[in-house]
């Protein structure tokens, strides 16, 4: 393994650990009464109500509720794990400050949107067939999300390398 790869893996792993421990310092109550309803819940409920107005979905703390289904957003189901992973990878890659900031902002948006799709999708899964929830929630969704985020990271690293190469050749 070359030094660059080792450095990337070591930095990403250390940063991930640091993000994880900082996240666990946030009390459950803050997450479930402030962050989850405001950052995730209302947006997901609006999406569901726009797509299917008859559901009349409401948000109460960390729960998205309709007559037929209730979805609780709990610690770890907020996309934080993937966000920490992507951010650690972007910071560990060692791109320029400009590329890192753009990667972080776009990466954050991507993770947020993917997680919103997951939350809305899980709500419909519960409503349609509760038995499908465990495999979709614990198995298919996490692995697919990792794949999509890896795709984003690959595209970002490619853009960084191309851009830096173009800058170098201009300077030369």
């Amino acid at each position: 393994m070359d030094f660059q790869t080792f450095r990337f893996i070591a930095i990403a792993a250390i940063l991930y650990g640091a993000f994880h421990f900082a996240y666990h310092k946030v009390p459950d109550e803050v997450l479930s009464t402030k962050i989850y309803p405001n950052v995730i819940g209302h947006f997901a409920a609006n999406t569901i109500n726009t797509l299917t107005p008859d559901r009349n979905v409401t948000v109460k703390d960390h729960a998205i509720i309709s007559k037929a289904a209730k979805l609780n957003i709990v610690r770890g189901c907020d996309g934080s794990g993937v966000w920490f992973m992507l951010t650690a990878a972007i910071l560990g890659f060692g791109a320029s400050v400009r590329h890192t900031i753009i990667g972080f902002v776009l990466g954050t948006l991507t993770v947020y949107l993917i997680n919103q799709v997951r939350i809305v999708g899980l709500f419909y899964v519960i409503e349609y067939n509760r038995a499908w929830f465990p495999p979709v929630h614990t198995y298919y969704a996490p692995t697919l999300i990792i794949f999509l985020i890896a795709g984003f990271f690959l595209a970002w690293t490619r853009w960084c390398s191309k851009d830096e190469l173009a800058t170098d050749s201009k300077e030369a």
Binding site: I9, A12, H20, G76, S80, P134, Y139, F147, A150
Partner: protein
């Protein structure tokens, strides 16, 4: 790598993810069954005080932990007596997630020759054992520790968080996704270095 090649690689990855996910969903229990003795060995080594009996019951991996010695819970509480058996469990699908991620990374990696592909397959075995050792046994032990933590908390006592619980929380928060991604990348990087002409 041009845009077309990158697109093809992404499509290949998606197909591999789909095939592995479906294979795991329908036949993953067989793989986990094969890994049970390994899980038992690692669990016993990591626990230092239990005899581990791990079985698949319905869709869950169930860990029957028999205490070899009295296990103290808190200084103020009576210990768990030696010889008593307690249990914890996680679902088979839960255990398959890091395996699917690891093999998606390794099989999607663009190998340049047959030798490289064979090396990748060979390295996937220790990689599989590594991510299996750092996920399932620790999760099962961590579940037991959660029980002890809750028992202490219910009695109004505080209990120091043991390492297996810290590790379990780290892996459950997303570490069990990061671990196979990094292990897969490290394996591929190692193979590229080993097969360099």
């Amino acid at each position: 790598m041009n845009n077309k090649a990158l697109g093809l690689l992404a499509a290949k990855g998606l197909v591999i993810w789909l095939v592995l996910s479906l294979a795991g969903f329908f036949a993953g229990e067989k793989l986990i069954n094969t890994l049970l003795p390994f899980y038992e060995t690692v669990t016993e080594s990591a626990s230092n005080g239990y005899i581990a009996d791990i079985k698949i019951v319905e869709d869950d991996i169930v860990f029957y932990a028999t205490a070899l010695t009295a296990k103290p819970i808190t200084p103020e509480r009576p210990p768990l007596p030696a010889g008593s058996t307690i249990q914890s469990s996680i679902s088979v699908l839960h255990a398959l997630v890091p395996i699917v991620i690891l093999f998606t990374v390794i099989l999607t990696w663009p190998a340049h020759c047959l030798k490289q592909r064979l090396y990748l397959l060979a390295i996937s075995i220790p990689a599989l054992l590594f991510i299996s050792a750092t996920s399932v046994p620790i999760q099962l032990l961590g579940q037991l520790e959660i029980g002890f933590q809750n028992a202490a908390a219910n009695a109004g006592l505080s209990r120091e968080e043991p390492f297996v619980l810290t590790w379990m929380l780290l892996t459950e928060g997303g570490g069990r996704w990061l671990l196979p991604v990094l292990t897969g990348l490290a394996s591929c990087a190692l193979v590229v270095k080993l097969t360099k002409p």
